[in-house]
């Protein structure tokens, strides 16, 4: 129970950060980091997978609700909530017996960075492609994915270190 309160606290904090700070950056019209997907990395692994996906969909819909972009973040979140256990299974032997969040302590730094990078690329690709909804400005979209991805990566790592040391 205490674990869930902590999780909801972190989730609210992330939503707050996303909606009030990062969504207002508008750097060059290109950089739009999405740190809220850290919340999906922190979903407890002992939950059944369908539950993880439904929770991922819910988190995505919350973001969609605030950013007036129906379905876009939901699509990205569902995909990474589905992929996370699959990918973690590559790095950990007994993935079914894992409990709690996926953190640096669980995976080790190298594997954590790898997992984070893959999830961010998948998520950002879905989000920015769906937003553009055309391949007409593909170069621009790819640049958006790359630059935003780099910033999301840095922000999430920062958050992860803060979490680890508190």
């Amino acid at each position: 129970m205490a674990q869930w309160f902590k999780y909801i606290g972190i989730l609210l904090l992330l939503l707050f950060m996303q909606v009030f700070l990062l969504d207002n950056l508008h750097w060059l019209g290109l950089v739009h980091p999405y740190v809220y997907l850290w919340a999906i990395l922190l979903l407890p692994m002992e939950l059944p997978r369908w539950m993880q996906m439904l929770l991922g969909a819910t988190i995505g819909m919350l973001i969609d609700w605030f950013t007036h972009s129906p379905g876009i973040h939901m699509a990205g979140c569902v995909m990474i909530a589905f992929l996370r256990p699959q990918l973690v299974a590559n790095y950990v032997q007994d993935v079914d017996r894992l409990k709690g969040a996926i953190t640096i302590n669980v995976l080790g730094l190298g594997n954590y960075l790898r997992l984070l990078a893959i999830l961010i690329v998948v998520h950002h690709s879905i989000v920015f492609m769906l937003e553009a909804f055309t391949f007409y400005h593909l170069g621009y979209t790819l640049l958006q994915i790359l630059l935003s991805g780099v910033f999301s990566f840095a922000f999430i790592l920062m958050l992860e270190y803060v979490r680890k040391n508190t």
């Binding site: 508008h26 290109l30 969909a57 969609d64 609700w65 605030f66």
Partner: protein, 291 residues
């Protein structure tokens, strides 16, 4: 049958993934359609009041810029009054009527902020603040602090101090969401001021200072620096509202249409106060047009 069930159980996670992605995709397609720009709760009370809270904090940090903007607008209005007064000397009766009707019909709405009635075509200007906006997406939006309570309905035009801003999409009691000119679903019926040639203005990412003027045929007399204004061919905007200025122009050897870049009159980076245009005879116009 049992095999089928086993198959479904085995791939249940994958099927759930497909199901959820399809749902999300339906949301995306429905949400992207022009009329439903921000229909999914964009103008609802919860997000609206959170954005309002956010804006209340932010507004302290930009008081200086806002003041400057308002002063500038005041100056412009004063200049217009002077202009009208000068005209009055030439044609006393008509212009006095125009000037007096635009000042004496000043009235207040529920919040005590004035809405004033434009003299010529029965447009009412309702002042509003931008409380949230985006400018880095394909489908940008603005949220305004006026809603159905203040008489706002969808499809009303919105203008800023420099020119047109956008079109109201969805409305709740206290808020409304506007699709600005910098929204890829918005097409503005415009014309070249000097010869009244009508064309369509359309924007696409990423440059929020420039849009394209489409459908200008080869034979048309157009040059860099020409002013583009609204055509007045819809009830959304009256004619001759500033849209922008032609900034780049090209015509290939075999092209039948120009490629025209228009620098938009409105700077969406620093837009804080706007006016919503309420057209008095809207229902009448709609009903006669659809007859």
């Amino acid at each position: 049958m049992r095999n089928l069930l086993q198959l479904i159980v085995r791939y249940s996670n994958f099927l759930l993934l497909l199901g959820l992605e399809v749902v999300a995709f339906i949301f995306v397609v429905r949400g992207n359609r022009y009329q439903q720009v921000a229909a999914s709760g964009a103008a609802n009370a919860v997000t609206g009041s959170i954005q309002l809270m956010q804006d209340n904090v932010n507004s302290y940090f930009r008081l200086r810029a806002d003041n400057a903007q308002l002063l500038e607008e005041n100056a412009k209005l004063n200049a217009e009054i002077m202009h009208l007064l000068n005209m009055q000397e030439n044609d006393t009766n008509v212009c006095r009527a125009v000037y007096e009707s635009s000042t004496s019909r000043f009235r207040s709405n529920s919040e005590g902020q004035g809405a004033y009635v434009s003299s010529d075509l029965d447009y009412t200007f309702i002042p509003a603040h931008v409380i949230a906006y985006s400018n880095d997406r394909h489908h940008n939006y603005l949220t305004l602090n006026k809603g159905s309570r203040d008489g706002i309905t969808p499809d009303m035009g919105v203008i800023g101090k420099d020119g047109i801003v956008g079109v109201v999409q969805t409305v709740s009691t206290h808020f409304s969401v506007v699709a600005p000119v910098i929204h890829e679903g918005i097409y503005i019926s415009s014309m070249i001021s000097k010869n009244n040639y009508v064309a369509t203005l359309h924007w696409h990412v990423p440059d929020i200072r420039h849009a394209e003027l489409e459908d200008v045929a080869r034979h048309v007399n157009v040059a860099v620096g020409d002013t583009i204004v609204t055509s007045g061919l819809s009830a959304i905007f009256p004619a001759n509202m500033p849209v922008g200025v032609v900034s780049k122009l090209s015509l290939g050897e075999g092209d039948s249409y120009y490629d025209i870049d228009v620098q938009l009159a409105t700077d969406f980076h620093s837009l804080r106060t706007v006016h919503i245009l309420q057209f008095a005879h809207r229902n009448e116009l709609d009903s006669i047009a659809n007859r």
